[in-house]
């Protein structure tokens, strides 16, 4: 089943789908970046700044990769194979920097009482936000299902939702390790415009 025949609605469906996925992924990263910047502002001489800066850099990498991986101009049509490929690339591309945020935050939290007042609470929020992002990456079926609802609400007669959901289910098959924990970075995980 292809959406090509339904153009120009296909273009709107593609935009709505990618927009929703992008929104879902960027929302927790917003909290990661905001809280890490806030802690850097509030504790200018603290010893944890280097680790916090690395967390921030990893968060920025997530944002950059979301922009590259979900660039609508890079997607010709929203057929099932394409949706599945997009979701797999998103998971591969974001897993390493997300793991870096989680790992760095956990290392800082291990400092416990040595951290300035309030920092542990803010780090816990960073960890919760990064955990939310990791959960989205681990369950692409749910992520795509929510995006499909958005597409359906935009184009109620187009019936794109089941197609998107089927593609997401394919992307979430066990062979793709959908529910594994984030693993270390690999070069081939980096998003490439010509992929």
């Amino acid at each position: 089943m292809s959406l090509r025949a339904a153009a120009p609605d296909a273009q709107r469906a593609k935009q709505a789908f990618l927009s929703h996925v992008r929104h879902e992924l960027r929302t927790p990263v917003n909290a990661v970046l905001g809280y890490s910047e806030l802690m850097l502002e509030e504790h200018p001489g603290a010893g944890f700044r280097d680790e916090l800066s690395r967390i921030q850099a990893a968060g920025r990498e997530v944002v950059e990769r979301i922009g590259l991986l979900l660039d609508a101009s890079d997607v010709e049509a929203l057929d099932a194979a394409r949706v599945s490929a997009i979701l797999r690339r998103v998971r591969r591309g974001l897993r390493a920097p997300t793991a870096a945020v989680i790992g760095g935050t956990r290392r800082l939290l291990e400092q416990g009482e040595r951290l300035p007042e309030g920092v542990r609470e803010d780090l816990a929020k960073v960890l919760a936000a990064a955990g939310r992002l990791a959960a989205l990456l681990a369950d692409l079926v749910s992520l795509a299902r929510a995006a499909a609802v958005q597409v359906d609400s935009l184009l109620p007669d187009a019936r794109y939702g089941p197609l998107v959901e089927a593609a997401a289910a394919a992307a979430g098959e066990p062979r793709d390790s959908a529910r594994s924990t984030p693993r270390p970075a690999r070069d081939e995980d980096a998003p490439k415009r010509d992929a």
Binding site: Q15, R22, R26, T27, N30, A31, K125
Partner: protein, 124 residues
């Protein structure tokens, strides 16, 4: 001290952005959905509104339309905030009546510049 109404449903984003703005000397009023945002703007008359667009109860676009249609609130500048960053989002926000638009994740220096440009200038 300028008062800014922040309309944002995400608790962490609300807490983080309000604290960062308070550090810059702003007084922050909080609303957690579009309907509450419209009601608070009418009651509190803030100097500026930061309006998330993906809001429950009443979305940001409709909230902006209502605020700009009401003589009590139409003069309050609104900056739309969204994590969508889609082509056409900015135009859609401006069409709804927003005065400017910014994307999440928030780049604070950029947002502060936009806030400064829209806040009423103190009488000399």
């Amino acid at each position: 001290m300028p008062r800014i109404l922040l309309v944002e449903d995400n608790e962490m984003n609300r807490d983080m952005l309000s604290r960062r703005l308070e550090r810059r000397g702003f007084t922050i009023l909080i609303a957690v959905d579009g309907a509450q945002g419209v009601a608070m703007a009418r009651a509190e008359a803030p100097e500026l509104i930061l309006l998330d667009m993906s809001l429950p109860v009443l979305d940001g676009w409709e909230a902006a339309r209502q605020l700009k249609a009401d003589p009590r609130t139409q003069g309050i500048p609104i900056i739309a905030l969204t994590a969508h960053a889609m082509a056409g989002d900015r135009e859609k926000a401006l069409e709804a009546g927003c005065d400017d638009y910014d994307t999440k994740p928030i780049e604070l220096p950029r947002l502060l510049e936009k806030i400064g440009a829209l806040l009423p200038k103190p009488a000399s």
